[in-house]
Amino acid sequence: MDRTAYVARTAYDLTHVNHLRVPEFGVLKLFLSFGGKTSKSYLPDTAPPPKTPDTKATDDFHFAPEKEKPELNYTIDDKFGCITKATIELFRRDVEAAIWKKELKADEYTDGDHKFEYDAKIDKSTEFPEEIITVQHSPYKFKITLEGENGHSDALFAWTYFHIMVHSFEFELGPKDVVKEAQDKALYDTLGGLPAENASSQIKLLSNIFSTGSDKADNTLFNQYKAKWTDGANIPVFAKIFIRNAADGKEDIPKAVGKIRLLWDYTDPDESMASQFDKAKEFLELAIDYYKATTKPKGDNCHKDRGGKRGDAAKYIFPAQAGYAPADALTADTFPFKVTAGSTRKWSSYSETWPTGKLMGKTGVMFQPSRMAGDDYTITAYFPHYRKPDGTDNLDVEDDEKLKSAIKKSTGKFQVWREVHLISYRKKASTIPSIAIGTVQGYYAPAYVSIVDKSGAIGDMPDYDTKLRAKTNALPQEKKLAVAAGDQGTITKSSLKFLSYDDWKNAYKAATGKNDGQMSTWLTGQGLETLQKYKTWLEAITDATIPKACDDYLSASDGINILQFDLYWEGGGGLRSGTNGFAATSFPSGSRSKAAYLQTRADYTGQGNNNMQQTTTHEIGHICFLPHAFDAGGYVNALHDEDAHWHNCTMSYNYNVERKFCGLCLLRLRGWDQTGLVSARASNKKP
């Protein structure tokens, strides 16, 4: 340093001297303060240590932009006015250029203490669209830099650090607008929100998918259900981010969030068998114990080998989304946030927040649980608070332990159910005892099938005789003559009243002029020469007639219709059908999504533990593709638990005990692929 001094000689008899000084200047400290907390001030190594270091200052200083305005404090040492320029700059990581700058005025860098209120504002840019500093680029560094002349300085700059931090986040059901498919929109309306932590909610996938005939043993249910719900429902789960204030409290400042990521993860809770009856429980426990510990994540949801998503690396619970640029309005039927799968934790996904626009401060995923009823999920989102310069973070690992220290939030348990509608319930006579629908629903609950009663008030069957006669009048003469005269709507509570065997024979004989010999020959030729054969013939006439006659009573909507009679048919002379119920597939308006069942018995005397509810459950089982078990007609033993373990599946005719679905029926009702299951219980367990 070169300096000039103007000095005086001192005469022999004088004593004056020349004092010379090289001025020193510098900054002594720079720190933020708010609410009694301060950030740590740093000086270069060349600077003398502060006389009174602030031992309470930390590098953890944080505040809530806009809600809190900390003071930026700095102390200048410049007794001799050397400083010619002073600048305060704000830096973020990995960027050399300051993101904010303030040139101090001359009176702002004089010797002594200075401070100003820091409002956290910043020039608008791509990185800071809301003109405020954000969590995205935290931590930040404030630096003051001095320029001077005529002096020496060992502390031309000082700096301090601070953070903008996430306090927490809360989940919410995203807006319906972001869902694309109509069935997902319909499902959305049933959700009513997301389950709070430790609570649970059901995701009911509407699946009015019904048998239309001989399709009960060929995996049609699985294939039809798969075609309808493919990889599962799409439920928008959003997270709203909150900012941590200086006192570690929670502040709602969406614009201070910026573009950050959440890692969306899920767990597959152990399925509870508490509500399963013992025989089914034994089957189910073996079946769900299928590579439980080796899939990622581990669990007991339906495995990919049974048509589920567990263990299938190509099937995501939070599928990738392209998202779109933040805007003030949402694009209909389009998911807004960018979602990408984890690189290592492949079953998890990252989503980005919107730094501006309508969804500012929020992010989310499209939650796509498997369609398999009974599968359950708990969603946990994590905030990766340390993001490396390359954009990765330390949560994208398989080890769950690494996630434990992150800020996180979990939902309650989502459980997938199938929803089947009971759309209409009519009784021919109001005096016929009603079916306890709740009991029927209870039989289906272990299969996670919700039979939703949408039938409203029980209806009647108006103009029954007219509708019936329209069909019976078209029958061949001998059949037409078997139908009893009178108003079939009132003369019987059964679906059809016939003549007694003798009355019918007499009527036919009179109508055709046959003598006794001719009549006998004719009856033999028709296979109607005995009362028993006549009864079988009447059963067939009813089968062929009633579904068509009653078709108008079916609801126009999808679902199951119940038409209840007291006896399927009856005849003079005490003739009665033995049929308890009939899931007919011959209703003209019946379809893959609309079915009907005839409940045709009220009095079950002599049938052991059988009753209307048992019959209804059985017949709806047929509608839902379940074949008979064991000794019932057309049984398919391969689609039921082994006889040795459970002989009283709902789909059997064994009334000695209350019938309940066997384990294999339950899994098929849940939507599982029957080709991945076998009747032999132990074979379903692996390894």
Binding site: Y6, R9, F80, K141, A406
Partner: protein, 251 residues
């Protein structure tokens, strides 16, 4: 009649006129007016008029056939005294200094911070003084890059290397030395603006003789603030001339 030029004081003028003692001129009656306004004979003002008395011839008669010894008294000696002080006005000790002009000297300041040049050639107007004012800090061992703990707490520790803002140039060795050009005899009288400017300069304020009024006013205000604790100083040199004279010249 001589006029005071740059580097002149009564000592140098007296010497130029052959006077052994500056009092011959300083106490000369014709200079009483000057003496009244310039209380220190060593701090005049450029353009001051000095009236030297007529030289008095001294006649001594001695026989020529003998040897005689005539004793001529030496000139009265002058000196240059500098005191190095810190920002608080305390003497700076242990500072190594080297004077290369007007004479070669070196040393280390003692507790009084003093550098003294005895027997000063009063005609010398230029000096060069080098002082090692500061010691370069010992190089610190390199700090290993901080590694983040596992798991990383929140907020995460600051990783200094993640901030890429430009670091100031390191201090060069020569920045620890100060090379003074000494303008000997050029300190104007305290009670003139230039005298205040020169003293402000010597005491480290950003001002030097002949600076413009704005700069001078600013420097005076800084002085008033830091030395006199006057937050709203006048900025007038006259208001600090006495104080700064004391601070600058009192031993």
């Amino acid at each position: 009649m001589p006029t005071v030029g740059d580097g002149d004081c009564i000592l140098s003028i007296a010497d130029a006129y052959g006077f052994r003692d500056y009092h011959t001129i300083w106490d000369f009656g014709a200079n009483s007016g000057l003496k009244g306004t310039r209380p220190n004979a060593n701090t005049l003002l450029f353009g001051d008029m000095v009236v030297p008395p007529d030289a008095k011839a001294k006649t001594i008669q001695k026989p020529t056939d003998n040897t005689h010894v005539l004793v001529v008294k030496n000139k009265k000696p002058a000196k240059l005294t500098l005191i190095l002080i810190d920002k608080d006005g305390n003497p700076l000790k242990d500072k190594v200094w080297t004077l290369t002009a007007p004479t070669a000297l070196n040393g280390t300041t003692g507790p009084d911070g003093k550098i003294e040049v005895p027997n000063l050639d009063v005609q010398a107007t230029a000096g060069a003084l080098k002082v090692t004012m500061w010691k370069a800090p010992d190089p610190k061992p390199p700090v290993p890059a901080k590694t983040l703990p596992d798991p990383v707490p929140y907020p995460p520790p600051i990783l200094v290397e993640e901030f890429k803002d430009k670091k100031p140039d390191p201090t060069k060795p020569e920045d620890y030395d100060v090379n003074w050009t000494l303008k000997i005899g050029s300190l104007p009288t305290y009670n003139d603006a230039t005298g205040v400017q020169a003293r402000l300069n010597n005491l480290g304020f950003r001002c030097k003789p002949k600076d413009d009024a704005t700069k001078t006013t600013q420097a005076v205000k800084v002085y008033q603030n830091s030395m006199l604790n006057q937050k709203d100083g006048t900025g007038a040199t006259a208001d600090i001339q006495d104080d700064i004279r004391n601070r600058h010249e009192n031993p």
